[in-house]
């Protein structure tokens, strides 16, 4: 192993990320607390979600310091999930309209 000592970083970075995660969580809770609605709500939820997920994966799970060979193993398969989400969203809409059309509710 080239990095026999493993992942070593100053402890301060974890405390900073911890604080940031707290702040972003508070923000996403505030979205609900102040009852923001519509596309503003969804955009904010997604922004805070991806910020938090990104910080956890890149810093806490150390992916930022890993080699490209691992990053590709982790991120390329996610494309399949994106395809699944797209298909299932289309399918869900189709089911919804079919139900409305045939059952009227």
């Amino acid at each position: 192993m080239s990095e026999t000592a493993g992942q070593q970083h100053p402890i301060g970075i974890y405390l900073k990320i911890w604080l940031l995660l707290f702040v972003f969580s508070a923000f996403s809770y505030a979205v609900d607390y102040f009852q923001l609605q519509g596309s503003l709500r969804w955009t904010l939820i997604l922004i805070f979600m991806f910020l938090k997920a990104g910080l956890i994966v890149s810093i806490f799970m150390h992916v930022q310091w890993e080699r490209l060979s691992l990053k590709y193993v982790l991120f390329l398969p996610l494309f399949a999930i994106a395809v699944l989400i797209t298909f299932m969203a289309i399918e869900g809409d189709y089911t919804y309209f079919t139900r409305l059309f045939f059952f009227g509710r």
Binding site: S69, M88, G92
Partner: protein
Amino acid sequence: MTSETDKSATYTEPGVAGLVSDWAADKQTFDMPWGKIMMWIFLLSDTFIFSIFLTSYMNVRISATDPWPNASEVFALQIFGEYVPLLLIAIMTFILITSSGTMAMAVNYAYRGDIKKTVWLIVATALFGASFVGMQAFEWSKLIEEGVRPWGNPWGASQFGSAFFMITGFHGLHVTAGVIYLLWTARRVGSGYYEGKDLAIVEIAGLYWHFVDLVWVFIFAFFYLW
């Protein structure tokens, strides 16, 4: 792999050229202990499981013709006679993030060789995790009392219950397993089982724990806030 070639192998070349050489050269592909890459592969498969859960939740929510219950009201708690939306869920979120912070620090102290701090930080992480499961049990009992079932609920689309119990239940199962896994790791590290060995084992346990927190980020956003 412990063959001769591995010891002389280098993993210094950055970027795409490094990617090619990692895969093509006569050495093991991933520059890490086997347990760590195995944990990553497991977490990738777990990502697919949770993605499928959340995608099916999306699908039934889109196709439901009855109104979807308002999570903000369903999960509100009454404090001093006032309803605070999503209070318990917010507390659970902060607890899980805190546990992720203590876990990250445990990994850091493990690599510094500070066994005592490592053990106590892992135990603290496990305690936060256990309190998370406790709150989830409280949340489940409250909802079951109010009449939420996998096949129906008093407020609207009946798919709400099945999605809720499947998704949070499977996540809670992961947290519970994680608490046991962490306590086991703490015990082994504390008893000197890994003395003189690489403490990558703590980082591997940490990867699992951070993943559980990561999944909660998505559940919180899509199930509770959306």
